[in-house]
């Protein structure tokens, strides 16, 4: 378990640094690229937890599509090459306070509730199990999500259309 722990902390460090850069950097495109780092780190954490499928879904959906959409949107709205100074408004301290408050509360709750629970990984989750779960136990949510996606698709098309 030592190796996994080392890997976790390396990934976590990268993710934390990336997340901070996402919310502080002055260059929009750089922010999106730092977000890639965070998301890739997230996928790596999932693999550490033996949950392969969701990790690669994260890669294909988030990195392959969502980030690309972000970059697409940024570039369509005239990506500036040089850093912009006005990317942050003057709510820095209230924002920081809110974030600290929330994260602090969460951390306290977590530490309080699951103080030293350990994750015991026996075997990686096979894709088959997920399929069974989705199409047996969670069929209704699955359908609902499908309808939601369709609605989002139609909505996006309607909004982006010419007239």
């Amino acid at each position: 378990m030592v190796a996994q722990n080392v890997a976790f902390w390396i990934f976590a460090a990268f993710m934390a640094a990336g997340a901070i850069r996402v919310v502080t950097t002055d260059n929009i495109v750089h922010a999106a690229l730092w977000l890639v780092l965070v998301l890739a780190g997230g996928a790596a954490q999932f693999i550490l937890l033996g949950q392969e499928f969701v990790a690669w879904v994260q890669v294909i959906v988030y990195i392959g599509a969502v980030i690309v959409l972000f970059l697409f949107g940024i570039m369509l709205t005239r990506a500036p090459m040089e850093a912009e100074e006005k990317l942050n408004n003057n709510l820095r301290w209230p924002g920081l306070a809110a974030a600290l408050l929330f994260a602090g509360t969460l951390a306290w709750a977590f530490l309080d509730q699951w103080g030293s629970d350990k994750i015991k990984l026996t075997k990686p989750v096979r894709t088959k199990e997920i399929g069974d779960l989705v199409f047996r136990g969670y069929l209704v949510p699955f359908e609902v999500v499908g309808v939601l996606l369709l609605a989002a698709l139609i909505g996006a098309v309607v909004m982006a259309r010419k007239d």
Binding site: L76, T77, R78, A160, R161, K162, D163
Partner: protein
């Protein structure tokens, strides 16, 4: 559509939201050229884009201006042929003929029949070599690389023929006032006949490979439509105009410099006026030119290639305008002579200059890839625009 011209600070957002704007995501000014593969030369197009749609296109010419009209005033007539065959460098032989014809008309000299026939053959050969390049190049511009190499390969055959007859591949300088520099080499006629049959085959090949391709049709049909009247009023000529359905060919309708009326041939027109029509018309004309050459070779008269011409050529006073159907369209020379060894003033009417003048109208509202299709299908030579 024109929201890009308005300063966003000057009007309220609400008013703009009622405008029926497209997915207008910040327009961008793109310089296509002067160094860009699609402009085959140094044409510059300043294109204002909204996404990939062209709002406005301005051709900027003059990067290749070499001042030939002025230079001719300081040269003698025989020297000028070397200049004018550099105007449209792909069909240089065809550039010489109207100029020499104009000088001959001013001097009242008639070239010998054999010389006229050989001029016709070589003019048509220049047409074939130009159009072959077009047939391949058009494929290249819409993304297929293979036709370009086929075009170059087949063009090589005609260039070899031109070289073996005139000594120059690109700039023959073969015409003299009253005739030609020298006669055709031995065996040339048979070789030419073989090559022309090859050209007929290669036209079939292009018909299959390029014109029959569904993607090519999808890319060219309905793109860059020139209405017949508008095209004529912009001065578009040659195959571009015939592709819009105007049956006008100076080889038949103009004052013939060359014996086109002694052979059987026809012109081709297309109703659509789009890029595909221009390709179609040029392909048919290539084939027709090959057939014309085969006929001319059959009827090639014997005899001298040079008429009686004074030693020192002085063109009598007068002025004349002679035009001819060049591969790119109507090419004309307006010559004013004051009786010296060189002309007093020469005005050159080149086909490409008029052909590209329609570009700002033609490019409005189409996509960037179609700009390239339209540019390729109009088929201009930069030397022919800038002179």
């Amino acid at each position: 559509m024109t929201s890009f011209e308005v300063d966003p600070k000057l009007y309220s957002p609400l008013a703009d939201s009622q405008l029926n704007v497209e997915l207008d995501t910040g327009d961008m000014i793109l310089n296509i050229g002067p160094q860009h593969p699609a402009t085959h030369g140094t044409l510059r197009l300043v294109v204002r884009l909204d996404g990939e749609r062209v709002i406005k296109a301005d051709p900027v010419i003059g990067y290749m201006h070499r001042g030939y009209e002025k230079l001719t005033e300081y040269r003698t007539y025989p020297q000028i042929t070397t200049l004018v065959n550099r105007i449209d460098w792909l069909s240089s032989f065809a550039n010489e003929v109207p100029f020499i014809g104009a000088a001959e008309k001013l001097m009242n000299i008639e070239a010998t029949p054999r010389a006229l026939y050989i001029r016709t053959i070589l003019t048509e050969m220049a047409r074939i070599s130009t159009f072959l390049l077009f047939l391949g190049e058009m494929g290249l511009q819409v993304g297929a690389i293979t036709p370009a190499f086929f075009g170059f390969r087949d063009r090589e055959y005609t260039l070899n023929l031109i070289e073996s007859a005139t000594g120059g591949r690109f700039h023959p300088n073969y015409n003299r006032i009253g005739g030609l520099k020298e006669d055709l080499p031995w065996g040339w006629v048979a070789e030419c006949r073989n090559t022309m049959k090859k050209m007929l085959d290669s036209c079939d090949e292009f018909e299959d490979l390029v014109m029959g391709n569904p993607i090519f049709q999808a890319r060219t049909r309905g793109i860059g439509i020139i209405p017949a009247e508008l095209g004529a009023s912009y001065g578009v000529s040659g195959s571009n105009l015939r592709a819009s359905g105007v049956d006008w060919d100076l080889r038949r309708d103009g004052e013939p410099l060359l014996p086109y009326n002694e052979i059987e041939w026809k012109t081709f027109t297309h109703q659509d006026g789009d890029s595909f029509a221009r390709y179609w018309v040029r392909l048919q004309e290539t084939r027709e030119s090959a057939r014309m050459i085969l006929q001319l070779l059959e009827q090639l008269p014997a005899g001298p290639i040079m008429a009686k011409v004074p030693r020192i050529i002085k063109v009598p006073e007068g002025e004349i305008y002679v035009n001819a159907e060049n591969p790119l369209g109507e090419m004309g020379y307006y010559i004013i002579s004051k009786g010296a060894t060189g002309p007093f003033r020469v005005k050159i009417r080149t086909a490409s200059f008029s052909n590209v003048s329609i570009l700002p109208w033609l490019l409005q509202g189409i996509y960037v890839p179609d700009v390239i299709t339209v540019l390729a299908s109009l088929y201009f030579i930069l030397g022919d625009i800038d002179r």
